[in-house]
Symmetry: C2
Subunit: 205 residues, 2 copies
DNA sequence: GTCTATAAGATGATAGAC
DNA sequence: GTCTATCATCTTATAGAC
């Protein structure tokens, strides 16, 4: 069925719309949202800036659609891990791996979230970003507390600090990880999990 | 001795100039360099935007002076650690602590470096940022390799990945750490060093 | 050291032709 | 679906008065 309305609905797979969003995501990730102009996006897409407004209301609408779509997918995966019957250590490992997978498969979206979510979150339209942030914190804190309770994690951990340590350690990798170059995201996740759980010191060294 | 030239020299302690740089640093750290306008800075300082150009050539000159001054101080500390006679583990610990101290005492400068160095580094004027980055990498890699060689660190570590892990883990804290609120920077450094060296898993857990 | 006034260019967005 | 043309606003920076 062909699109009839001027602006395709949010979930649409309209090829052109999706392509424009990919182009915009690449630029937002590279230069930041505010430092990317609608002219940059139009240039990269091979059209003029005014033509973008046939597809989208505004620059904000573009980043909104990019981020909200990504977050839905990511949190569906977290929910699945929380609901699984594995032990806390296995769930923590899976949550770390899911995050590195996101860096592999949704690099631009993760980069945009890391760089611009704080600023965007101050506008009512992007209030869901703060909600998702709180939800993410809940996921990690729940897993860490469960790990301490069941004795797989050290009892003297500061839960909040450990949460921040894991969150930052995992997501900040988007700054240097380039899909297809060097180590795979699975290799990196393996080593990160190892350092996180066992540290870098030689036991008894 | 009073200032005679229109624009005070770089190292000057001229009160007004230093105050304007502090104001600018606060805004750059909060909103990013490109998203801070000279009007923002002038407003925060209680003057009009044109008046800023009596003190500084350009917005770039301001961030240049802020970053280069900070980097000189930071790397003097790294050099001192490298030159000390301690063992690798102690030197690594001290390097981590020096970094958290920088977050405590030079919060804005660290935040600006974390957020804007990549972008600024693409201009010839800021080539020194890339040099300093390479120098920093050298410091950490040297310490990690020494640690592996002397048997205080695990022999199976990927040195480059471990370097990135430590670098990111330490500096990203500037995103959430607020001097004077909650844990002190020393407390945080203690726990970070502990997690980094020994991990979060309960031994034999 | 700050102000008034303004230049020169970039920016997000719109209206209507093709 | 894209282009032409354009607006209103914001941005960095300058020149000269006070």
């Amino acid at each position: 069925m062909p699109e009839t309305s001027t602006q395709a609905p949010k979930g649409s797979t309209s090829g052109r719309r999706a392509e424009l969003l990919r182009v915009a995501a690449g630029l937002f990730a590279e230069k930041g949202f505010r430092n990317t102009t609608v002219r940059d996006i139009a240039d990269a897409a091979g059209i003029l800036s005014g033509s973008l407004y046939h597809h989208f209301d505004s620059k904000e609408s573009m980043v909104d659609e990019i981020l909200s779509t990504f977050q839905e997918q990511l949190f569906a995966q977290y929910d699945e891990i929380l609901a699984s019957g594995e032990d806390a250590r296995a769930k923590l490992e899976r949550a770390v791996r899911v995050s590195f997978e996101a860096i592999e498969n949704h690099h631009d979206e993760v980069a945009i979230y890391q760089n611009d979510a704080d600023h965007l979150g101050t506008f009512p339209r992007f209030a869901y970003l703060a909600d998702r942030n709180a939800q993410s914190r809940q996921v990690w804190v729940t897993l860490i507390e469960e790990g301490v309770r069941t004795g797989v994690l050290r009892a003297d951990l500061d839960v909040t600090l450990t949460y921040r340590f894991i969150r930052d350690t995992v997501w900040v990798a988007v700054r240097w990880y380039q899909p297809g170059r060097g180590l795979t995201h699975t290799d990196i996740a393996d080593q990160y999990v190892r350092i996180l759980l066992d540290g870098i010191a030689k036991p008894g060294g």
